[in-house]
Point group: C2
Chain length 344, copies 2
Amino acid sequence: MVNELNEMMATMIPAVEQDMQSLLHLHNSIGPDETDPFYGMMQYHLGWVNAKLHPDNENTGKRIRPVLCLLSCAAAGGDWQKAVPAGAAVELLHNFTLIHDDIQDNSDKRRGRPTVWKIWGAPMAINAGDALFVMSNQAIMDLVEHFPAEIVVQAATVLHNTCLDLTRGQFLDMSYEERNDLGVEDYWPMVAGKTAALLSACCHIGSILGGADESKQDAYRSFGHALGMAFQVQDDILGIWGDEAITGKSAASDLLEGKKSLPVLHGLSWGGKFAERWWQGPIQPDEVEALAQLLANEGSYEYTHGMSRQMTTLALDSLREADPQGEAGEALMELANKLIKREQ
Amino acid sequence: MVNELNEMMATMIPAVEQDMQSLLHLHNSIGPDETDPFYGMMQYHLGWVNAKLHPDNENTGKRIRPVLCLLSCAAAGGDWQKAVPAGAAVELLHNFTLIHDDIQDNSDKRRGRPTVWKIWGAPMAINAGDALFVMSNQAIMDLVEHFPAEIVVQAATVLHNTCLDLTRGQFLDMSYEERNDLGVEDYWPMVAGKTAALLSACCHIGSILGGADESKQDAYRSFGHALGMAFQVQDDILGIWGDEAITGKSAASDLLEGKKSLPVLHGLSWGGKFAERWWQGPIQPDEVEALAQLLANEGSYEYTHGMSRQMTTLALDSLREADPQGEAGEALMELANKLIKREQ
């Protein structure tokens, strides 16, 4: 079987990159402008230039979100090429949140390079994030070139509602850091905003632009939502017991960071020896391996894996209900499997 | 003559407040939610609650921007009541920029109260600003209830382009702080983004919703732009030689803050005794009065006043060209005069 996904990604991603680069004045012919260094910060974050603003194309992200959006469009029966601005919109939105996240989390590095705030300072980075958000809005409005205005308003409304979910999820995430009374039930609303909302919007917007009827749109939206949940739960598993070679971050790094991920919340609710140690203060590198084992012994690995399986089943059921068509449909199934079976 | 402006403001502002409060879940009936404190931060910034999130209505802003928008709509022949969501959108957008500005400028106070970041910390404040931006986008899409989708897309596009101007202006403003090579010509692109872009968008969007044809829309847009420029130049004059009773801030406070306002840029270009003193380091309270006098003696007062008159003339010419109708037209003229003749 031909690898549909790789083939489609190889045509979709460059189209989205080009659309974003045009909004971001990369290779523009407008001539030098006082705000060029400002565009440069955003170009740097997107991986097109290095910190000196010289060309560099090593550190772009995986662009999963636009691919999900465009595949959903095509699998719902639409022409993905017309939906490219929507792909740009979701990717720009995602990157706006990353720039602000890095300030909020005080993170020095992203994709192996210094973060925007680390190079240009927080005030400039806040503003660069705001501008990527603006460009996401501009991109979604650009759909009007190929779609009726009613459809554009519908897609934009989904995008805006999603943004609100993102900020609510971010609020919960930040406020959880200081709380000691959290249970596993507090995990889902936070992850719904932080991860699932945007993946859900990608599939939902794609299906709208593909001409899906309302019940199909619902199926695409549910697919994206469950996919996001499953993906995050997987990420939590890898963050504690995972394979460094796959994730690029050391296993158990979530324990060192004190991240209240699903396995940790389960362990805290369990109230055993893991919880006892957790409440004594920050975990040190030399105890990480034993604590990961302890957490597994207390049932958190099994519990989290069970939730991951539930979410995965939900995602694949929703995708079958969406009944994605053609090569894009096969590629979408392939992408889903790839995203939620990362440990294999 | 009846005071049209006050009468219209007294009906318009409550309508906009209600629309914003509905987006911001004030007095909602949804029941308690984990994200209530998050909405609380935004409600606080908008002046509806105090820092303990108890009702308070003393510190809302003047809501000039929605009034400009709704008056432009009515004066162009439209029904301002249908345009209320656009009024909410421009006010929410303005307030999003204020929350982020306060972090960027390290400002402790706004309208006599502690700033959002001062109370809840910068990470939470960044997120609260982002959410107000989202709600501005949601508000502009809400226009679809009363307007054809094509018109909504047109209005949203103006709003988004304006946001980009705002971030570019903010970039210039922040980068100017560190530059020593600025002349008066660098002032205009910065102020065009920081102040004029949004006032211009208010009038432009209002005229679109009022059904103005393209040449009338241009006139409204130019009016708002020149009004914003004139307003900012006035503000610069008051910031150095102004009347504390009118502005609520002490005259010459701009000198203490080292703000590169138009009179200062003129003085620096002049290269006289004022410039000599400026480059020696921060200005102290006891030398402010003498330096303001020195700056005036070197021609900066006259120069800045001249620019203010030019911009005012441009604004009023554009407004005449827009040919605003009825009571709203009179009120718009009144508001323009009020905004740009504040020193009298």
